[in-house]
């Protein structure tokens, strides 16, 4: 099993990286680019077989450690 976690900055937090990337894309000539948000992607290999238990544990880990709920949102998928 593999967990895939996407962590993004909350909308209320100023994202200067995102703005910089957006402006660089525009400079490079790409049209139609709206807002850009730069986040993090984690892949976690899981050795157990219980998908539901893994989801509960990783949800807790995401909330307590892997993301900071004050400034970040996360999305967790387990395959």
């Amino acid at each position: 099993m593999k967990a895939k976690i996407i962590i993004t900055p909350k909308k209320a937090v100023v994202d200067p990286q995102g703005k910089t990337v957006q402006s660089a894309l525009a400079h490079m000539g790409y049209a139609g680019i709206g807002a850009v948000h730069v986040g993090k992607y984690l892949e976690i290999e899981l050795t157990g077989a219980d998908k539901e238990l893994a989801r509960q544990q990783l949800d807790e880990a995401c909330h307590k450690f892997l993301s900071n709920p004050i400034i970040e949102d996360y999305k967790l998928e387990i395959d």
């Binding site: 209320a12 100023v14 200067p16 990286q17 910089t20 450690f65 892997l66 900071n68 004050i70 400034i71």
Partner: protein, 235 residues
């Protein structure tokens, strides 16, 4: 008074903090992050640096070091704790202070002297700061203070904002804000007022030869508070 200065892997301002405490005539001991006791500490300094390489998020891993459990208990018992730069980040991640520090708005690492004003003298960290502007160095890439609206309202209502970036005249302008911190916040304290954090480095501003000795006023505030407390206990 005895200061405990924590050391995490890749803390790098611990020696300056020890030097500052000893310069002011007090004792200071290093406490390695794996220790579970703070010894006879009267106050704790969580120093600056890049603990754990700033991996995942600044301060995110250091907050789980064994010594932080002792710091939580020390703070719960009213002990004075001050977090400087990475130390401020660690205290926020640990939930000992509200809010979080994110990347500077111009994406640049700022290493320069700035001006600070103490927003209140009603704290163990600002009680000896007269109504003057302090000149203190900063050195950080992720010092932009963020908290949501309701937290900011609470900080204002409870007088928890301790230091704000200002210009030489003491005005809170956008130009004087090096990193985009909301409300020009450079440092805050908790509701109980015994835990504080700030991004600037007072331990690097304790001797005129370093360009400013204004940082002493912050440590002197803590020492004054601790000495008043002992005097009150002895009475």
């Amino acid at each position: 008074m005895n200061f405990a200065i924590l050391q995490f892997p890749a803390s790098n301002c611990d020696q300056d903090a020890v030097h500052a405490a000893r310069l002011l005539g007090h004792s200071a001991d290093y406490v390695w992050h794996k220790e579970t006791s703070l010894g006879q500490a009267d106050a704790v300094i969580v120093p600056g640096g890049f603990s754990y390489g700033d991996y995942l998020r600044t301060g995110a891993i250091a907050r789980f070091s064994p010594v932080m459990q002792a710091v939580q208990e020390f703070a719960a018992n009213g002990g004075l704790v001050i977090g400087i730069c990475n130390g401020f980040q660690i205290l926020c991640e640990a939930g000992l202070l509200p809010g979080a520090l994110v990347r500077n708005r111009d994406l640049q690492f700022h290493c320069e002297h700035i001006f600070l004003k103490a927003a209140t003298s009603d704290s163990p960290f600002t009680c000896q700061i007269p109504g003057k502007v302090l000149r203190i160095p900063i050195a950080h890439g992720e010092g932009c203070y963020f908290a949501d609206e309701s937290t900011l309202e609470k900080l204002k209502a409870n007088n928890q904002i301790l230091w704000q970036y200002c210009n030489a005249q003491g005005e809170l302008t956008d130009e004087a804000n090096p990193n985009g911190s909301l409300l020009n916040i450079a440092g805050i304290c908790n509701e109980r007022r015994n835990v504080a954090g700030l991004m600037p480095h007072p331990e690097r501003a304790c001797e005129p030869v370093l360009g400013s000795a204004d940082g002493r006023l912050i440590f002197e505030s803590m020492i004054h508070t601790l000495q008043s407390r002992s005097a009150a206990k002895a009475a």
